[in-house]
Symmetry: C2
Subunit: 135 residues, 2 copies
């Protein structure tokens, strides 16, 4: 089986330090956080502006990769469901998907939110949230 290698393009710097601080999804009361882009990818930020809506893809480095089913939202009253029909962080390739707004830009640091990702979470991609911004 082939495999593919991701490298981090940046990291999340957040007041959310772990599961006990984190809402389950960004819109459920998550804070803003800083996304620090690695210097070698700075050129890929050209055109970024405050107010833009982005899809940020993270690597959920604390998530289990060997879980294929579970109770949605860890709620045992909900039936066991395959992870491909949930947004659980536990999944074979632990990618996180975060719709955010750009709040501020300082050099290669973007203030974004709301985002529930933990402090230190690697970021692997950033895209326009608009399908009209295709390159």
């Amino acid at each position: 089986m082939n495999s593919y290698t991701l490298e981090p393009i940046g990291f999340i710097r957040s007041t959310v330090k772990g599961r006990e601080d984190a809402p389950r999804q960004g819109p459920e009361g998550a804070p803003d956080a800083w996304l620090e882009i690695e210097p070698q990818f700075a050129k890929a930020l050209l055109g970024m502006e405050v107010g833009h809506e982005l899809m940020v893809i993270t690597w959920l480095h604390k998530a289990k990769r060997d879980v294929l089913r579970g109770h949605p939202r860890s709620d045992e009253s909900r039936p066991v469901t395959g992870v491909f029909y949930t947004r659980s962080p536990a999944r074979p390739n632990p990618l996180g998907l975060h719709p955010v707004t750009v709040r501020a830009i300082k050099g290669t640091r973007l203030k974004i939110g709301p985002i529930e990702a933990f402090d230190g979470t690697p970021v692997v991609d950033i895209k326009s949230a608009s399908t009209r911004a295709d390159g």
Copy 2:
């Protein structure tokens, strides 16, 4: 620098064979396609139903990884923009993001669409499109 390894959880089987067949984004006239899940991940499909809306994440195996800026939609009348503010397939980690609807399910094969990904594109994750389906 750390790096992370993805493995394909399935593959796209499509009438779109290459760039000449592909609209730039799914909603722009892309066809439906089959997503064939690898057998070892079949359990992660539990609960999947026709009509569900998903976010499918692909590995854009034909895309360049060393491009940081370009003209959006390859339109030279549009100013050069960083790839992190486009949806260009060319980007450091060539992940594709596809909002789709489940049209049919046959065993471990999901008919999904609309989707512009080429035939043979590896799929690395599938999530509910709803943030209320968190696990």
